[in-house]
């Protein structure tokens, strides 16, 4: 069931066409992640949904009501900002209860909701503190708590984890996932981190240059990218792209062929379809990434291998590919299905 709908939404900054006719339908309870490189328009799109940026053209419909030009305060959406944006002069409790207080909610209900949210987020001991007395992770939890107590129609997250260190980011990511599982609230989450996108999302929206490149579940994007951009954006290390001449039995229209690193394998000399020289071996413990420079063309590829390799740098190797996992792209870079 469509809950939030963007219909041909446009955004201009002067002459710059930042968001180009975006169409998107989001269902109730879904966790949607906007992902893309810097400047792709993902934050702008989120802020347009929030009402913090004007929508120049097109419609925004929430729960059957057109809200395209409604003030952000009237939309009943909650936003978690990258900088937390807590009210520095208020305690944690006041921060979390602000929305309810200005709405004129009864004090007993406010207390109850704040207490519940604080308990969920392990913030109960800090309710009387001000934001500057909290660590980064705690501040981010207050920002999330401020959103939760309101039970808004949609949660909006604008790169909420990018100010946290790596360990805390992983932990908070899990907490957000659990929170979504418990609350089952419709959420839109902006990130440039594909791990966050892959782990949190029900569906991922990949953006580039103000245009949606593909919408799909994380596995759909991984296994069936719509074009070369998505193919290379999703997956770490990124998908290898080689000229079609290395492969046999593929479409005549194919110009480039993409192969995930795990779908290549090092085989005995002369046994593989492709041969090259090992340039670098990255042993990561659970896996090994072998960088190979191909003979003749000088194209490079990465092979992912889960067992310890017996080869060394500068060895000549032969490489085979899994023919059932080839991604073929035409001259325009679109996937051939």
């Amino acid at each position: 069931m469509s809950y939030l709908e963007l219909k041909n939404v446009d955004k201009y900054y002067g002459d710059v066409h930042a968001i180009k006719g975006v169409n998107l339908t989001i269902n109730k309870g879904e966790f949607i992640v906007f992902v893309g490189p810097s400047g792709c328009g993902k934050s702008t799109l989120l802020r347009m949904i929030a009402g913090l940026e004007e929508i120049n053209d097109g419609d925004l419909v929430l729960d059957g009501n057109e809200i395209t030009h409604q003030a952000p305060s009237k939309r009943d959406l909650a936003m978690v900002f990258q900088s937390y944006a807590l009210y520095p002069h208020m305690t944690v409790e006041e921060n979390m209860s602000f929305a309810l207080r200005i709405k004129g909610e009864e004090q007993s209900i406010i207390d109850q909701k704040v207490a519940k949210a604080a308990e969920t987020l392990n913030l109960t001991p800090y309710l009387k503190r001000t934001p500057k007395e909290l660590s980064g992770g705690q501040r981010q939890r207050v920002a999330i708590g401020r959103a939760i107590v309101r039970s808004p129609k949609v949660f909006l997250f604008d790169e909420p984890l990018s100010n946290l260190d790596a360990a805390l980011r992983g932990q908070t990511r899990v907490e957000i996932a659990e929170l979504h599982r418990d609350l089952n609230a419709t959420s839109i989450y902006v990130t440039h981190d594909q791990v966050e996108a892959m782990t949190l999302a029900d569906r991922v929206v990949v953006l580039q240059g103000g245009v949606i490149e593909q919408v799909g579940t994380p596995m759909e994007l991984y296994e069936a990218p719509a074009n070369k951009f998505v193919a290379q954006f999703i997956g770490q290390p990124q998908m290898n792209l080689l000229s079609a001449s290395y492969f046999s039995g593929i479409s005549a229209d194919a110009v480039d062929v993409g192969v995930r690193p795990e779908h290549f394998s090092i085989v005995d000399a002369g046994q593989g379809a492709i041969s090259g020289q090992v340039e670098l071996i990255e042993a990561l413990g659970n896996e090994t990434l072998i960088h190979v420079c191909l003979e003749g063309s000088g194209e490079k590829l990465i092979v992912r291998q889960y067992e310890q390799p017996s080869i060394k740098v500068r060895d000549s190797v032969s490489i085979n590919y899994d023919a059932s996992h080839l991604h073929q792209f035409d001259a325009k870079g679109e996937a051939i299905r």
Binding site: A50, L52, S73, F81, A85, L86, Y87, P88, F98
Partner: protein, 277 residues
Amino acid sequence: MSTKKSKWTPALIARTAAAWGIALLLFFPLIFMGFTAFKTELQAIAVPSLWAFEPTLENFHVVNERSDYVQFAWNSVVTSVVSTVLGLLIAAPAAYSMAFSPTKGTNGLLLWMLSTKFMPAVGALLPIYVIFQQLGLLDTKTALVIIFTMMNLPIMVWMLYTYFKDIPHEILEAARMDGASVWQEFRHVLLPLGIGGLASTGLLCLVLAWNEAFWALNLGAADAGTLATMMVSYSSPEGLFWAKLSAASLMAIAPIVVIGWFSQKQLVQGLTFGAVK
């Protein structure tokens, strides 16, 4: 208990002496005025100046009798306070919109506002005098309130603008997302965060309006005269009355010096805000 040894190096002594010297030099006119106010007119014009004399309050009595101090002081209070409040009411929303929703023209507008302060006030005297005359506002407190407000508005907008610019935009956006109306956003977020800026801006403009003499003299010398005009009336063509002039000056600046003394922290903070952070 351990005591810290102060190290009076020659360089430090020289610096301290220089600092005191400059401070005394700057403060000297005020000290001189303070002394002169308690002398007789004869003692006041004595050369060399007398530093030991029997103080008298006579000058204050005379000033109070000859000119109605309370009336002048009241005019000063009304014109400076009302113009400051009015100015803040106009400047705060202007600074808010310039700081949080700037357009291409914002910088130009700010510079243009400041440029109006570059023009000598006397350049605008004639048209303003005629306008106020036509409106029947000459020698009214209303005229002074209007002119003081307009005079201080550029400074107020500039100062508040720099204050507001230091408040993260996202905090206001968060309030908006939390359902706050513009008024609630101002009341619950901008006001508590910007109160220091509003206070020091108001204070500075209060001082500027209080000390203003040019417009006060030209537009409101009699009924609407402020303490500045009272002071000037003691430097008359019939001869200078140094002691009485000093007494009048002391009475004129006393209230604002007291306010300034107690709020110097805010004043300094206001003037250096954004410069050091």
